[in-house]
Assembly symmetry: C2
Homo-oligomer: 207 residues x 2
DNA sequence: ACCTGAACACCGTTCAAGT
DNA sequence: ACCTGAACACCGTTCAAGT
């Protein structure tokens, strides 16, 4: 689109293909991401992508890695500039849920099974570990300052991530609950319900 | 396979196609579910399915409705025979998470976005409402016996479902966390971590 | 009603070839 | 290295036709 069609050099095509695939993902979902469709959007022959991606799964994995990279960046950014590490954790959770809500297809690709064995893609693996490390570091800092209780920071980070991921999944999968959720105030209302439930539990006469 | 090829009558083919599609879903994931592939498995021409399903999305919706039906049945079964309604809720939660863990592709289909506008498929909608109603009824019963605190049963059911769905999603999406989760005792260990986190929170010196 | 075969425009993937 | 065109076996979907 920028210059003559087909004039890609030093990795420009790979970038253009990923950009095209990203557009396809947001517009049509995972099933709309194809090597031929991406090539068409990028203005090259249907076969050019194979110079950069071994197969279809490999470009999906690249999108997932990109998404995890962005998640990690956002989490790191959200964690900065808080005196209280607990505040930082809340900010991290918010950015996590926001990304899931804004780009549900990407979120599904990052954590779903569209890419069968994600551990086989180093870029995906490393991007995931980087994001996870933001959590661990934040918890470590909180433990140093006394804001967070003692205990294995790995365990605390894992448990915290799990909870946040559960909440994010609710936003993305909320379609079945959506109808009622909307009556109760949409996603924020749902979040309030959940946290209230966790706080109060179901049993009566709490002290 | 049972009789002569192509000898289907009074809805047998629809059932056979759903069975085939179900096998394809478990074996190859949502992208493996195709009308042609299902027709091949059922031993009919590639075009016969269009007598029973308008398009590919429609057979996916039928699978989702089937899954929600089974979920509802299992939930209703799990809810029976408990004196304490809170016990019944735990049993419901266990069966929900079990179904998600046993058939992750089906679970994704039921709550994901593979079928774009699920509200447009009455079978999906009704099956979802039926499953939801099991929760509401159980909570109502618990409120009558005094086992569950007062409050809107719809809100309590929604909040409870949301939490359980979040936990189930963790099992299904746990691949990114899996590596560490395994070290910490797999899915049960993860569940323990999460409930501990919810119970203790992150702050130090709780009274 | 229910099934079939031919046809169309799409896929992913491989191969042989061009610069 | 990077890109292309032809080819193959698959798709979803439509049409005209058979019983």
């Amino acid at each position: 689109m920028a210059k003559k069609e087909g004039s890609f050099h030093h990795g420009d095509l790979e970038w253009a293909l990923l950009e095209a695939a990203s557009q396809l993902l947001e517009k049509e979902g995972p099933s709309g991401v194809g090597l031929r469709a991406a090539a068409r959007l990028a203005g090259v022959s249907h076969n050019a992508p194979y110079r950069h991606f071994r197969n279809r799964e490999s470009i999906l994995a690249a999108l997932a890695a990109r998404g995890l990279d962005e998640l990690g960046d956002r989490m790191a950014k959200a964690a900065r500039g808080h005196e209280d590490a607990r505040r930082a954790l809340v900010a991290i959770a918010e950015t996590y849920v926001s990304l899931a809500a804004e780009r549900p297809h990407l979120f599904r690709l990052m954590f779903g099974q569209e890419v069968a064995d994600k551990e086989r893609y180093p870029a995906v693996r490393e991007a995931g570990l980087r994001a996870y490390q933001v959590l661990v570091d934040t918890i470590l800092e909180g433990q140093r300052s006394g804001a967070i209780r003692p205990g294995s920071p790995e365990e605390l980070a894992l448990g915290h991530w799990a909870i946040v991921h559960g909440v994010a999944s609710l936003h993305v999968d909320g379609r079945m609950l959506e109808e009622r959720a909307r009556e109760r105030g949409g996603a924020p209302g749902l979040a309030r319900l959940v946290s209230e439930q966790i706080r109060l539990g179901l049993e009566p006469r709490r002290i």
